[in-house]
Homo-oligomer: 339 residues x 2
């Protein structure tokens, strides 16, 4: 059986297509009585708007937004961050009857290609971007492409895109002071890729907090968020002549890997080594010792950024917003140094 169209409804109701469209979209132009009649018939017929037709009509929207993720494929599966974000984005979207297109890209170039294609083929109405990089080509491109975008990150380097940003300085200071207060002096941060903007700002916050606490040996090394890199880096650090007594990781995956390496090397956590994770997924509470972590509400970030994009798409003026700062959740993996 053919899908019913507004024409079918119009015939059944004995009115014109136009009237049906008005009635269905709740806009003036039909009397209350006809509107009601039309609605009933539409319902009886099991009518639903054809999305392609809606999108094609002048001024029409596609009713979908896109998200492309480019991170090492190996880490993607386990990285809790994205699914949480997706889940938050969707919660907001489904209220508006908007769908989510997801793409995994190899690198920034591929990501740009996806945006270009989406814009050219009119696949989505807008996109949510994450993982802003230092001198990221995306904001500039979005200025050219007819593809509205909002950014989770920034605001530095956002190039005028509305963004939802976080001040990692607050939790970073909290972490450093907490570790310093417990007597840690040699603290190393295992950060994400150097060219991420948020990596950068965390590095700066870490440096300042360490300086203020007089931790001259504090430093940051870079890895790529994968467990493998986390393991490798941790192994190298713990094998140094004067190994760190506390490690601060930029995500929970690397922290988990670090915990594994400590166990493998016979270094006890937390009596000989304290570990702090960033991003507090359920993973952190599942391992032993449980991981002290900086917790932020990623699902809510997803919701908010989706709502911002939605505002942009409905033609509203959208200001960048700041999230609540992450919070330190002390657990079993941190403690005073036992000499």
């Amino acid at each position: 059986m053919r899908r019913p169209t507004i024409m079918d409804i119009a015939k059944a109701a004995g009115v014109s297509k136009g009237a049906v469209s008005y009635a269905l979209n709740g806009r003036p132009g039909v009397s209350e009585s006809t509107r009601e009649r039309i609605l009933t018939i539409a319902n009886d017929l099991g009518w639903a708007p054809s999305n392609p037709a809606r999108a094609l009509a002048p001024g029409g929207r596609v009713g979908a937004i896109g998200m492309v993720v480019d991170r090492p494929a190996r880490s993607l599966g386990i990285e809790p961050f994205f699914m949480q974000l997706v889940s938050g984005v969707e919660t907001e979207l489904s209220d508006q009857g908007v769908d989510l297109m997801l793409q995994v890209a190899e690198d920034v170039e591929a990501e740009l290609a996806v945006y270009r294609r989406w814009a050219a083929e009119r696949r989505v109405d807008g996109v949510v971007m994450v993982d802003l990089r230092v001198s990221d080509p995306r904001p500039e491109m979005m200025g050219v492409l007819p593809l509205p975008a909002v950014l989770l990150g920034g605001p530095e380097g956002a190039g005028g895109l509305p963004c939802l940003y976080t001040d990692d300085g607050v939790p970073m200071r909290e972490v450093v002071h907490y570790l310093a207060a417990m007597g840690h002096r040699r603290i190393v941060r295992v950060a994400g890729p150097e060219d991420f903007v948020h990596t950068h700002s965390r590095t700066e916050a870490f440096r300042q907090a360490a300086e203020r606490s007089g931790l001259l040996q504090a430093r940051t090394v870079h890895a790529d968020y994968t467990g493998e890199a986390g393991s490798r880096t941790t192994r190298r650090l713990l094998a140094e002549a004067e190994p760190p007594t506390a490690l601060v990781y930029d995500n929970d995956l690397m922290a988990l890997a670090g915990l594994g390496v400590a166990a493998e090397m016979g270094i006890e956590v937390p009596s000989q080594l304290s570990i702090v994770a960033w991003d507090d997924s359920a993973l952190c509470q599942m391992v032993r010792p449980s991981l002290t972590a900086v917790s932020r509400d990623v699902v809510s970030h997803g919701r908010r950024v989706a709502s911002m994009l939605n505002a942009v798409l409905t033609g509203q003026r959208v200001e960048s917003e700041e999230t609540l700062p992450g919070e330190l959740r002390p657990r079993g993996s941190t403690g005073p140094l036992v000499v």
Copy 2:
């Protein structure tokens, strides 16, 4: 600037819209020379087909397929299975210029509602379904809905849907015999939800293998794939008067949680307790001891199931296929019982 349309190309080339359409879609009806000229112009103009227009045209396809996932939201983020699957599905799809719509649903009812909406609004050309349940309402519904579907799972209960299925009996026997050979007698399997078909068939395989090995005390208990459930269940089992000496988990998340509980209870792995995980994500190699796991190539499953759906969408006759059986990867979490 307006997006260029085939009409623009037609004007520039001095031919008709129809000719342009033929040329662009590589079908007969134009001479080689005009085709080439049209292609060049299209390229120069930066033309790309409007997806809504294509979809709306008679016989047109939307160029997107959908996937809806309903599992507890908490586990979703960490569950490596889905992102790996998504990643595989996309690899296959992007070759065909097809996009992926992703939705997270609360329960089967919500999932069905999504399919209904997608079909009614013509949002996707077809769907990939996962997590087949005992007396699952989805296959039957797909028979009614004009929405092609393929299933990762089955083949029992697939209700005629083409499916990509796995015989978990092979690896299950391998696991049980391996544990039995190392002297384990009290083996408990911490399974996924009881109403999943694959849970069911694994349970049966487990029962048979245990019986054959003379393991009278082997049994299956159910949890819901989340770390929390994994912890709780493990804690309960290990607190029994005659606790199991080996635990086989249905996913790696619960296995990880189980490992944590063992540590928390001072039970040493593997000397006092062996742990086997199902689904071998990078997580298994990151913890200490590393987790023995049944490994299957989820990414490749994703690719294959996407390719099957694609075949269905192009009107080909598609037969169900069987995947390679999972393989046991022995690691640090299993070993002979030390009494």
